[in-house]
Structure formats: structure tokens, C-alpha cells
Amino acid sequence: MANFRLNGESRELDIEPEMPLLWALRDELGMTGTKFGCGIGNCGACTVHVDGNAARSCVTPVSAVEGRDVTTIEGLATALGGDELTPVQQAWIDHQVPQCGYCQSGMIMAVSSLLERNPSPSDAEIDAGITNICRCGSYPRVRKAIRALASA
């Protein structure tokens, strides 16, 4: 049995402890906002928050989140205060960041976690903290949006 809280609600799943959280979310719980990109923790499309910290769910076994708080893109706004959109999500609209958008759930989760820890990151800190892949190349806009959030 796997037990964790997902976006504030307790979940109990009869699954293997080594099943990556990504597939528990997508296939067992139908939470498809979190994306499969590489399966090896390299691209970041599957990024979620575990106890508020960014984690790559495709290489995080459910056993590692036992009893912990998991937040996905669907629950991000609620977890950070309950507004309809978080400042990061709103900045993503204001700066027209996404293109195909497939990587953006993970990108937004990674950036939200970075800004939580460091509300005003330098460019070098952004580079080190955000290693997600965006094949469409939204990086200049991701940076612009983060800078705007940092100076807000």
C-alpha cells in the first residue's frame, strides 16, 4: 500500500512501492497534468512538489513519498494559497511563455519551488536551478517571467 497526500487529499493505492510516482499519478489516479518526457529524471517534464520541494516524479518511487505531501500542477494554486492562479502561472500568461506547453507543468513546478526558496534569484542561480528541457525553446521567456516575478 502506498499512502500520501495529493494536493491536500489523502490517497491510498495498492501498488508496488517501487512504482515511480509519475505513473501512479497518471495511470492510477488519472492526474495527467504531470508529463512523461524522458523517464530518467533528465528533462524535468514530470516535476512535482514533495513537501514543497521540486522532485522529478519519473525517478521518485512512491515509497519515497510515503506519508508526505505531493503537489502537482493541478493543485499548485490551492497549495500556495488558493487563488485561481499563482503568481508564477499568471506570469506565464503575461509573458506568453508556453509554446507547445508540454514541458510547462514541470517548468512551472520547478520555478515555483526555486522562487519559494530564493525569491530573487540571479541569472546564475536561475541557470543552476532550472535545468528542465523545453524543446520549443521558451527559455528566454521563462527567464523574463522569473525576472519579473523576482522584482515584483
Partner: protein, 745 residues
């Protein structure tokens, strides 16, 4: 489908269609299909009171407007851009405009693309669609293709704007008649018709049903640019809000409680057939339902994708051996070189007498270039979900052509096209990978789904996605240039390996009097297809590097040589000048930095790019900034245009710095991002974009920014180091800076 209460009135000459909608309202469209096809479709496909209309625009009694867009949204912002084009011609209130993906039926097909490219000169990426369309009644039809940077250029300019303008004119006529005033006294604004003399106005919705009774105008007048209210504005994209909260559906997100998941492994050597599988312990694993054998691979089907993927590793398979089992990239390179040495190929472009000029030359410059295969590596791994129940099926997959992919899945599953319902989704990247006739795994997914009575989602692992792609072709290209006694270039002699996918990509705009450009086709077992900007991505690297070599050999500034040889191409000169001035060409740069320049016309737009590069302490090239000037005629959505240019540059730079798919033992070596590296935040340079308005019709924007960047970077590296990059990717190559050369710039 839309129910209508009266027969469509067809203006045969102009292909404009008008139809009343049940419950009030009107559909106004530009017939993608010929009227005869339209009638055939209505006679054979419509049920009960339904009437099919090729509807681009629907006006509703509540004054809302729906624009049906036949192209796929893969991040290029096409839904918003085409919506803007319709809404502006209509003088609509943008807030009252909804945009919907047109259903995957041939009545929403799209032969404006064919008209745009010219029926006789279809680009190869469309040929498969045209040849294989099962529903084809006319010779060319059944297209919902998104590719070739064509949506705004052809669908938008040739059909959606026409439909919008026709609708506006009909609404004006209805209002004038109702008020009994001359039409000339009426005007339109924000989804209303106004009669200022009497102070009266009517909402479009109040006129929609009456408009349905009118014949559409034969020649609706399109707006001049000065009249645009919605086009030309940086309007927020409609597809972005669902992409920030996880709600945007992609093909891979199709989900049901009872669905099964398939993990697929295909023959690692392209073209090999499966001999046998030993399922080992796979079937004993939790959740595993079956191992499905296919002609060229096998799948494990389970109740969770991870379980299927884990069990896949337990299956041992034997594939038949093929003549390609020991083929390597090195062998293919030898084959390419031998072909170029041994065959004069077939004509691509000839003018003057290049051989004679080379004979008479005072100096001859020779160079051989090559680029590797590239994978598309869209972020959403290729996948398809199909639910086959008896003789009907439902299909979910991200595709650049819903109509054709539906036809392909139906044909593979042995179903009628009309019995397959396609569910639209966003695409997690396209880049040419999701065109219908290179979307190979759709067949496997259909065959697997046929074995079950619940929906089955087949997903390629990242490794399979990378190893079972249709690749950007590897190309070798040999050049010779002749110089006369004055140092002027007199001949351009080029032999490159084909096949050509985009005719003309190897042609040059430069006024060199004698040119001989020929292609030698070389066959390999590696599947190839369109990759963002297609042949331009390789040919622009070759051409714009070699013209730079010519400049340096002749002792002429590379920018100046281009300007000198582009007297007949003012648009090229203009973007070169804008990019060069913006980038600080010829003025003071930070110490150790140099600028490289390149220009290319593709898909109706002209891009000049300047790369600012330095060599780091570790000897590696650092790209600091790319400045791009783009003449795309004019941009429907300037912010969207800039996003596409940023994207195209990063895509091209990723390839230039990192991209290589190599072959060993007949198989692709690379499997995931660590060995097929992408640009990321830390390695993406500053990008400066200038949209240069030339007053020409809108050009493409999804692709034209990709081609020039590799040559721009390589040309800067030459200035810094004296080393000429003739092979991509640049990769981890270490350079030694040669300061003396930096003064050439």
C-alpha cells in the same frame, strides 16, 4: 456536426458557402472542398436533418462567433492567429470570438495549402497525404496538414480572411435592408452594424439568421493594412491559459479507468522483421495482460504503463538479420563521399559555365561539408490511444494532420474512415515528426488495440522515440569556387547528396555568374523525413559558411561581400543591414568576442542572423547573443512571431552545438537526452528579434529562423580561431583563439 435548416447556397465561382444553423445563426465558409465534393459528402455522409458545410466561421444568435481552424496547435499559436484573421475581417469584438479545432472530416480539409504551394509543385511532405487519401474525390484533397509554415500564408490569407470579409458584407446588407437605408451609410464595429445617421445599431447575432438567406458576395473586399484592428496586434494566445494549470489535453493524456497501456519495442535495425519472442517472466508480472507480436517488433500490454515498460525488459526477441546489420555512420559517410566522387548527379540549378570558369580561374577554393542525422525529440513521446469496438473506433493522438492520421489508423485496423472518431488534442511538439506518413507507430498502436476491447494507449519510451524516428537527413556537400585575376568570385560549383526534400534549398541568391549545383541521390536504410525547416537547415549551413569562406579568401568583409552580391535582393540586404547594425557589426565588441553573419530565405520569409561568440577558458565556443532580423512581410501576431523566431533559433542552435544521431551496427546509438543534448536555460544565449515589415504578403514563421544560426555561429568561430567548421555539431570541440583574425571583422 452542425445541424442546418436549409440547403447551403453555393457560389460556385468563389467557393463561398452560407448556411443557416438550427436554432438561429449562420455558418459562412470558404469551401475547402469543391462544391461537387461538398454535395457528394452531403449526399453520402449527412444523417437526418444534418447538412455539412465547410464552415470557417459561425455566427450565433447570442452574438458569439466561432472560428473553426483546420490546423493543429503545436505551440506556434496558429489557433489565435487564424482567429485574429477571421475576426478582423469581420470587425468582430475579439472578446466574443471562440476558436475551435475543426473536426477531422474532409469537409474541413484544406486545399488552400495545395493552392499555395501550387498543385504541380507539392512539397514532398504533402505527397504522402495526397497519394494515400482514401476519401479523395477530387484529385487533391483531404488535407488538414500543418507544416511548411503554411497556415497563415495560405489558409489564413486565401480562405479565412475571405470568409470573414464575406460575412461582414452580408451582415451589412442585412442591416441596410432591415433599416431601409443605403448600404453605404452603414458601418461595422465590435460585432455590430451601425447606422450613424439614425443612431441605430444591430448586433451581428440579431442579423445572423437573415444573413443565411443571402447569396455570398462574389468578391469580398479584404481590408488594407491600415484598417486592421485585430491583425498585427500582439494578442494573448488562447491556448496558453490551459497550458499553465495542467488542463490542456495532449494525445498522451487520453485516460479511462479501464484502459490498458502498451510499451513497444521495434526492430533496432530499421527494416528488420521479428523472428520470435521469448516472453520469459513477463506474463507473470503484476498487471501484464499479453505480449503482442508484430511484424517488426513486440509490445507488452499491462494495466499501467510502468508495469508494461518493466515487463518489456523481460522479453527476449530475435530479429532477422539484414544486410544493414553492420552499417555505421562512418560507412555511410564513405558511401556519401564515394557517391559524390563517382557521380555527377542530376541538375538542381545551372547557369553560365562553371566548369569553364574554374578552368580559367586564377584561384580555386574547395571545401567539403557534412551534417549528421537528427532526431526530432519532441517533448511528448510518440503515442496513440485507440478504442476499437467491432466496426467502430475512437482515436486519440497528437498529430499534424488529423484527417490523414485517422485514415491511416482506420486503414490499418481494417475499418472505414467514417467509422473512426478522432479526438483532437494539443501537440507536445511537432517539428515534422507528427506528419501523418512518418508517424509510423500509429500502425502498431492500431494493431495492438485491435487485440483488446478496451482503450489501449501505446507510448514509446524516450529511447524508442529517439531510435524509431524519421530523421533529418545526413548530407554531404562539396564546393568549389573560382576567382578571377581581380579576386572576384566567378563560379559556384556544388555537389551534394540527396534526396532533395525542398526544391531550391541549395540555390543561392548571390550574383555569381557561373553556377553548377547538382544533387547525387544516395540510398541508406535510415528513414528520413521533414525536420523543422527541412532541407534549409542543412543547405543554409553549407551555403552561408562557404560564401563566408569565399569572402575571407577574397579578402572582403563577409557582410560586405553578401551586400555586394545581393544587389537584386533588396529584402535580403535590408535584413542583413538591420541585423548587423543591431548586433554592433563593425563597432566595438567586448574583447575576445566576434560576430558571424548568415542570411536565408525560406517559406516566404527572409532571416538574417548575427551570432556573437567567444572562446571560453576551456577552449569551447560560447554563444552570447543571436540577433535576428526577419522579413516576414507582416506579422499577424507580432509577439507570437517573436516567440516562433526565438524558438526556431534555439532549435537550430541546439542542432549546431549538440545534435547528432549516429548509426552503429545498423542501429541508432543515442537513446535519451544525456546523449542527445538540448540547449537549456544555462546555455541559451540572449536573443534579439527585429521584425522587418516589407509590405509583402505574410511569410512563414515556424521554420525560417532555424536555418541561418549554425552558419552564423561557425562564421564567428572562424573569425576568432581561423578554424573553419565544416562538420556539425560543433560539440565539445576545443578551439585556440587566434587574435589576429579577429581584426577582419
Amino acid at each position: 456536426m452542425t445541424e442546418t435548416t436549409s440547403k447551403p447556397k453555393i457560389s460556385r465561382r468563389k467557393f463561398l458557402l452560407v448556411s443557416a444553423v438550427a436554432g438561429g445563426g449562420v455558418l459562412i465558409g470558404y469551401a475547402a472542398t469543391r462544391p461537387s465534393r461538398h454535395r457528394v459528402a452531403n449526399d453520402t455522409l449527412a444523417e437526418g436533418g444534418e447538412r455539412f458545410v465547410t464552415s470557417w466561421i459561425r455566427l450565433q444568435p447570442d452574438n458569439r462567433i466561432t472560428v473553426y481552424v483546420p490546423h493543429s496547435e503545436m505551440g506556434q499559436g496558429i489557433h489565435t492567429a487564424l482567429g485574429q484573421m477571421a475576426a478582423d475581417e469581420l470587425d468582430a469584438d475579439w472578446e466574443l470570438v471562440d476558436i475551435e479545432q475543426a473536426p477531422a472530416t474532409d469537409l474541413f480539409a484544406n486545399d488552400a495549402i495545395v493552392k499555395g504551394f501550387g498543385e504541380e509543385l507539392l512539397p514532398p511532405f504533402l505527397m504522402g497525404v495526397v497519394n494515400a487519401s482514401a476519401l479523395t474525390v477530387a484529385r487533391v484533397a483531404n488535407l488538414q496538414t500543418t507544416g511548411g509554415s503554411s497556415s497563415v500564408r495560405y489558409t489564413g490569407e486565401n480562405t479565412i480572411r475571405v470568409a470573414g470579409a464575406a460575412a461582414r458584407q452580408m451582415l451589412l446588407e442585412c442591416a441596410a435592408e432591415r433599416w431601409g437605408v443605403p448600404l453605404a451609410e452603414c458601418s461595422t464595429e465590435l460585432s455590430h452594424v451601425h447606422h450613424s445617421a439614425s443612431g441605430r445599431s444591430l448586433a451581428y447575432g440579431e442579423l445572423a439568421s437573415a444573413a443565411a438567406e443571402l447569396e455570398p458576395p462574389e468578391n469580398p473586399v479584404l481590408k488594407e493594412r491600415s484598417q486592421f484592428n485585430i491583425m498585427g496586434k500582439a494578442i494573448s494566445r488562447r491556448d496558453i491559459p490551459p497550458k499553465v494549470d495542467g488542463s490542456a489535453p495532449y494525445g498522451i493524456d487520453a485516460h479511462s479507468e479501464d484502459m490498458l497501456y502498451a510499451a513497444l519495442r521495434l526492430a533496432p535495425v530499421f527494416g528488420a522483421k521479428l523472428v520470435s519472442v521469448d516472453t520469459g517472466e513477463a506474463l507473470a508480472q503484476r498487471g501484464v495482460q499479453r505480449v503482442v507480436e508484430l511484424e517488426d517488433g513486440y509490445a507488452v500490454v499491462a494495466d499501467n504503463y510502468w508495469r508494461a515498460k518493466q515487463a518489456l525488459e523481460l522479453v527476449e526477441a530475435t530479429f532477422e538479420s539484414t544486410e544493414n546489420d553492420n552499417v555505421s555512420s562512418a560507412m555511410l559517410a564513405e558511401r556519401f563521399d564515394a557517391a559524390l566522387a563517382g557521380d555527377n548527379g542530376s541538375e538542381d540549378f545551372e547557369s553560365g559555365d562553371a566548369d569553364a570558369a574554374l578552368e580559367a580561374a586564377r584561384d580555386v577554393l574547395e571545401a567539403s561539408y557534412r551534417v549528421p542525422y537528427l532526431a526530432h525529440a519532441a517533448m511528448e513521446p510518440m503515442n496513440s490511444t485507440m478504442h476499437i469496438q467491432g466496426d467502430r473506433a475512437e482515436l486519440w493522438t497528437s498529430t499534424q494532420d488529423a484527417l490523414a492520421i485517422k485514415a491511416r489508423a482506420a486503414s490499418t485496423a481494417g475499418l472505414r474512415e467514417d467509422d473512426v472518431t478522432y479526438h483532437h488534442s494539443y501537440l507536445g511538439g511537432g517539428f515534422g515528426r507528427r506528419l501523418p506518413f512518418t508517424w509510423n507507430v500509429i500502425d502498431h498502436a492500431a494493431l495492438i488495440a485491435k487485440e483488446f476491447d478496451v482503450p489501449v494507449k501505446t507510448i514509446l519510451t524516450r529511447e524508442e522515440d529517439m531510435r524509431q524516428d524519421y530523421y533529418r537527413p545526413a548530407v554531404h556537400s562539396n564546393f568549389r569556387a573560382a576567382f578571377d585575376s581581380e579576386g572576384r568570385v566567378t563560379a559556384w560549383h556544388n555537389r551534394f547528396t540527396g534526396p532533395i526534400q525542398v526544391p531550391g534549398a541549395a540555390h543561392i541568391p548571390y550574383a555569381i555568374p557561373n553556377q553548377s549545383i547538382r544533387v547525387v541521390d544516395v540510398e541508406t536504410h535510415v528513414p528520413i523525413a521533414s525536420w523543422r525547416s527541412v532541407d534549409h537547415s542543412q543547405q543554409t549551413f553549407f551555403i552561408e559558411s562557404f560564401i563566408d569562406e569565399i569572402a575571407h579568401r577574397g579578402g572582403v568583409n563577409p557582410y560586405q561581400l553578401r551586400m555586394d552580391l545581393l544587389q537584386e535582393h533588396p529584402r535580403h540586404r535590408n535584413v542583413l543591414q538591420v541585423a548587423a547594425e543591431s548586433a554592433g557589426y563593425g563597432s566595438g565588441l567586448p574583447e575576445g568576442h566576434a560576430l558571424g553573419i548568415a542570411v536565408q530565405e525560406s517559406f516566404g520569409s527572409i532571416a538574417a542572423q548575427v551570432a556573437e561568440v567567444s572562446i571560453g577558458d576551456d577552449g569551447r565556443a560560447i554563444v552570447h547573443k543571436i540577433t535576428c532580423a526577419m522579413d516576414c512581410g507582416w506579422a499577424v501576431n507580432p509577439d507570437g512571431a517573436e516567440a516562433q523566431i526565438e524558438s526556431g533559433i534555439i532549435f537550430g542552435l541546439t542542432a549546431a552545438l549538440h545534435g547528432a544521431i549516429t548509426i552503429e551496427n545498423g542501429q541508432v546509438v543515442q537513446g535519451n537526452f544525456p546523449d542527445y543534448e538540448m540547449l537549456r536555460m544555462a546555455t541559451t544565449p540572449e536573443i534579439v528579434v527585429h521584425l522587418v515589415e516589407s509590405g509583402n504578403p505574410p511569410g512563414g514563421l515556424g521554420e525560417p529562423a532555424t536555418p541561418p544560426v549554425a552558419a552564423a555561429v561557425a562564421n564567428a568561430i572562424y573569425i576568432l580561431t581561423g578554424q573553419r567548421i565544416r562538420e556539425l555539431p560543433i560539440g565539445d570541440r576545443e578551439f585556440t583563439q587566434t587574435p589576429s583574425l579577429a581584426t577582419i571583422d
